[in-house]
């Protein structure tokens, strides 16, 4: 450094250096931020979590046995009145007898002053009427609907062949609702007169103290007196046609539906990943053969083979049938995932970073596990989410046509199937499970949309 004028010191230049204002985001962090910004997807995510909690934790909160039958409350809709009046033991009724005045020979008149004797209860409904001149007997009909205006009398419930007896006691399967009793006179040869009289009986639910104790509604018989009311067992969502608690059945049914809906896609996506990445990575002839086979499996009519496989597994009625359904779904559904993964792998194989990694001496296994599969994860996750609703649909469809889970195991599909039969009278038995299926499928669909938008820029929906 002889020349003092010339300095080789580093020149300090004040320069605007690009500074990193925040740590760079990983792919997953970025996706999470995008997902959080999507309100619909986020709500769906919470819904899915809530549904899982409903089926996993629900039974601990609502400990009613889904198979227990409450025979006092059959096909009861949610929010129905469930009070019962305490009564004494049943005492038999002798009935009413009366003799008619002389016969005028014409068409038999309708019985007059048909009336309900005593309070109509679920124990018994007692009817009496004035004798009809010339009648050889009477027939009593019961209907749950008003016979007017069509004259729909309902079911014949009794036939009285002695005209002196002008009363009837109904003790047949009475529920706490309104019944329409119609009385018709019969002539000497048992032919029915077209004239009828209808009486209405608003039946109240009654229970004896002993029964209440037996059902666990009260602790001691001495706790209640005659005329007190006790509350029947509580069913928040009502009961089904066998008196089973709907809420408990929905919780246990969710187990089957969600289990199949989540586990089946999980397994077939894994098979799809392995198969697809093998095909994509090997390429050439092997790839062609593998994919042609996948094409054939795709061509199999899915539901037909599902049913065939069930027969193959020899599922007897009474078996739950969950296992075979799962295996059948996995066996038949993997090709779509395999195709997708193969396409991704083929694309990624040509990327620069794979070449770089190879140049650094990376082995095939390492390439697949470290680079290829993680980079297809986004697409796979989206496929998985969209596969869940279709798996739930499939389970519901199979259970609906009676090919899925067998009774008494509840599943949403089989509950819909049972509810359909009584759709017109007690719609809640169909609506509740159908609503659960729809909400679940909706949540997974919206979540899938959100995930697709968040994870994969190329697949982003045009919205």
């Amino acid at each position: 450094m002889a020349e003092g004028t010339l300095s080789w010191e580093r020149v300090q230049v004040e320069r605007e250096v690009e500074t990193v204002s925040r740590p760079s985001l990983s792919y997953w962090q970025d996706a999470w931020i995008r997902l959080k910004a999507n309100r619909r997807a986020l709500i769906s995510l919470y819904l899915v979590i809530a549904l899982v909690a409903f089926t996993l934790l629900g039974p601990f909160v609502w400990t009613v046995d889904p198979a227990a039958q409450d025979l006092d409350q059959i096909s009861v809709p949610p929010g129905a009145d469930r009070t019962a009046t305490v009564v004494g033991d049943y005492s038999p009724w002798r009935g009413v007898t009366a003799t008619a005045t002389a016969d005028d020979g014409g068409e038999l008149a309708a019985p007059v002053s048909v009336s309900v004797v005593d309070q109509p209860t679920t124990n018994s409904v007692r009817l009496r009427w004035d004798p009809v001149p010339g009648a050889g007997g009477y027939r009593v009909y019961r209907n749950r609907y008003d016979p007017e205006p069509d004259g729909a009398l309902g079911l014949p419930i009794a036939e009285i062949l002695n005209p002196v007896n002008v009363s009837f006691e109904d003790r047949l399967d009475l529920k706490a609702e309104t019944y329409f009793y119609s009385v018709v006179a019969l002539d000497g040869r048992g032919r029915e007169s077209p004239n009828y009289t209808t009486a209405t009986a608003g039946v109240t639910r009654v229970i004896t103290a002993a029964e209440a104790v037996e059902k666990g509604l009260i602790d001691n018989e001495s706790d209640v007196q005659l005329g007190d009311t006790v509350e029947m067992a509580f069913h928040p969502l009502g009961t089904d046609y066998l008196g089973r608690d709907m809420l408990a059945r929905l919780m246990h049914g969710a187990r089957v539906s969600l289990f199949i809906g989540i586990v089946a896609p999980f397994f077939f996506v894994i098979i799809g990943i392995l198969y697809g990445s093998a095909a994509g990575f090997m390429g050439g002839r092997a790839d062609q053969v593998l994919m042609r086979f996948a094409d054939f499996v795709v061509a199999l009519p899915f539901l037909l083979f599902m049913i065939l496989l069930r027969i193959l597994f020899n599922v007897e009625s009474g078996d739950s049938g969950i296992g075979p359904m799962l295996v059948a779904m996995v066996l038949l559904s993997w090709p779509a995932a395999a195709r997708l993964v193969r396409g991704q792998i083929l694309q990624i194989r040509e990327e620069g970073y794979i070449g770089a990694s190879r140049l650094l001496g990376a082995k095939t296994n390492y390439l697949i596990l470290r680079h290829m599969i993680p980079n297809t994860m986004g697409v796979i996750l989206v496929t998985l989410t969209f596969a869940v609703p279709s798996a739930i649909f499939t389970e519901a469809f199979l259970s609906f046509i009676g090919m899925g889970v067998a009774p008494p195991t509840p599943s949403w599909g089989s509950m819909c199937n049972e509810g359909l039969k009584t759709m017109l009278t007690t719609p809640h038995e169909l609506i509740a499970p159908a609503a659960f299926i729809s909400i679940t499928v909706l949540a997974f669909n919206l979540l899938g949309d959100g995930l697709r938008d968040a994870l994969d820029a190329r697949m982003r929906a045009t919205e």
Partner: protein, 310 residues
Amino acid sequence: MLLYTVKRLIQGIVTVWFIATATFFAMHGVPGDPLMNDKAVKPEIRANLEARYGLDKPIHMQYWIYLKNMASGDFGISFTQQNREVNDIIREHFKVSATLGILAIVFAALGGILWGALTALYRNRAPDIVIMFLVILGISVPGFVFAALGQLSVVEINDWLGFTLFPVAGWGTVQHMIVPSMVLGLGTMAFLTRLMRSSMLEIANSDFIRTARSKGLPVTRILRKHQLRNAILPVITVLGPSIAAITTGGFVVELVFAIPGLGRYFVQAVQQSDYTVIMGTTVFYGAFLVFMVIVVDVIYGFVDPRVRLE
């Protein structure tokens, strides 16, 4: 084009053979003897059946007989219904299912294209939001719920009108067909609406639309001649898979509306373990679906020459 069609047909035949083979071995994997039903089969009938299907012969011979029968269109005799051939069952009941399915697919395709185009035109405005909400609902509600609701609304409509406009169940007249086919098509229509919408929006951003606009073509003409025509293409491609969806959806609708279609027979056969009917209908349905996908693909090849190059 001819080469493409022939290639697809050969592929299709191989696929049908694969389906037939898979069905054969699946049914033979079933433990037990299909002839050993609840009621004992008479020895002479048993002998006849054994001779016809070669059930006393080794399995490869049986397979050969089965393939020969299938190829000549003989699907065998029903095990549970007396004096009925599977061919008769298919011939009699398939036309019902086919009518139902065709009506449903026409309804779904027309509705899907119409609603899809409408939502795209009114993007992010009230009609779009309302229809897309209904579409999401349509995709998320299982078919049997639609069937039940459809039947319920038929009851209500008849009640309101005071006479039977649409029968609640059964088959025969045009009135019988309308509600079931609409119910059957709903899910597919929702799906097609969504597809049509995104396809319309994608095309709206393409260069040729911009060119057409800058040329000063009238908006309706751009819509009709350029946008709609191109947007319908993806809808045509998914019609093949849609036919499969409608076929299986038909099982449920036929059950709910008591329609004497092949789907209901298939479900019944499965419930009664009527093996020949199951095998016959499976292969028949499989062949039908494969054939329909080919038809759709060939039509697509005509409509869009770009696919033929692949």
